[in-house]
Symmetry: C2
Subunit: 294 residues, 2 copies
Amino acid sequence: MDLQKYLLKQQQYIESALQEVLPQIEGPTAQLLKAMRYSVFAGGKRLRPILMLAACEAVGGESQQALKSACALEMIHTYSLIHDDLPAMDDDNFRRGVPTNHKVFGDAIAILAGDGLLTEAFCLLSQPDQAFGAQTQLQIINIAATASGWNGMVGGQVADMVAEGQDNSIATVDFIHKHKTGALILASLQIGALCGGSNPEQLKHISDFGHSAGLAFQIADDLLDIESSQEQLGKDIGRDQQRGKATYPAVAGVDESHRRAEQLHAQAITQLDSFGDAAEPLRQISAYIINRKQ
Amino acid sequence: MDLQKYLLKQQQYIESALQEVLPQIEGPTAQLLKAMRYSVFAGGKRLRPILMLAACEAVGGESQQALKSACALEMIHTYSLIHDDLPAMDDDNFRRGVPTNHKVFGDAIAILAGDGLLTEAFCLLSQPDQAFGAQTQLQIINIAATASGWNGMVGGQVADMVAEGQDNSIATVDFIHKHKTGALILASLQIGALCGGSNPEQLKHISDFGHSAGLAFQIADDLLDIESSQEQLGKDIGRDQQRGKATYPAVAGVDESHRRAEQLHAQAITQLDSFGDAAEPLRQISAYIINRKQ
């Protein structure tokens, strides 16, 4: 398969689904929707939804079954970026090559746009017209909420802040990565598998794949902040080091970080053996994750 | 019935349920949980959960059936207050008689504590051990998310900001109140009824009660900002006027506001006729809402 073509096709598929679920409206809340849409359509890679659709197909489902959940997880991801970029947090000016939400709409609207996207994700996930049973749908909502909350992404964000400027261990960095980024990537894969009607054994393999691939993704992200350029990345680079962030390269060095990302990728794809050709997209995305330049 | 005793009993009941669902933990995310708990246990009236339990009982259910959902809605309410108080938003120093979350924990943790509470609400609402069926549970989640999002509370917040300092109509103020406060009060009542196993006719009556009571609550709240003292209210007063907020007294005057609140209360309790004694708490809470001093 041609991964670039595949990614482009999936991105377009998700793009049009997001357009459908996030309307442009008039009236007193027009500015809110505009801000929500601004960040959702600011050119993201759509990695989480793409992984979700791929996991759905890997277990034998149709990607359409996971499309609504995929939009929901992309909204959760986008909300986290908006809040993360705020002056009170990382104070970033650029994201995905364009000014950050608060730079365009102001801090208040940016906070509320994030709140709106997080909440809208749960509106979507709880809509009654899903292809699978209500029990599975509840399980999906619980996975999404747990992965996003205090014991997942938000917790990782706080741990990341607490660790800033400290002399950190690899265990601390692993905790941060596992929660801040890994949890939502893992959840995307698990939800994809559930949407596709996976059996418990398949779900276990997809989860193990997700643990490794999620960590590999964040290590690669840390490396990009050092090795990429602002042009390639679409956001300020070298910021992690400036801030004394707890990153894998900072505690283990650049070479060891590359080695660890490779190792995690190898571990990840081993989990996909039983899926055969249906998991080829997941295999190639896992390789892409550690070799990407943006 | 003695309303004060009833409210106290229900508050304690909800208080201990919240203690159970929101743990104190150690480790890198300890500060986050501390901040989340700080605002949840800062002495709120617990109006939304109390209304939920009362609606559950009005339709013939046991209040215990709605307890977990009641905690979830109180978390959503609390998150909205934390974000609302931020310097980028209303910049308030006091809430419920104590310093606001960001005054104690800083802006970054306050934003994340809000995010964490909103997300945790959906963790709770999607837990598998509820007394009712999965379909009802999904409906509850959808009601909670819709009432909290861009077409509910968050939308009302934005409309409120946009209206600040403008020459506003009663229609605008109604829109703001209906979305910013009314939606979550209405949702609390609807969810309570659903937890209690209401039939569609009961749900309709409870919803109509909620529309009127929710609006009455916000008008009373606007009046308190004018007529109460900081001591009684536990937060800065007169702030609405300073900021040129779109409030009912600002567009219709104080007397007309009292009259309208009374009228809404009267409309609200008419909806409860068919419930008999089981709805006595709802009747009395509705009266309390428009006569409270804090």
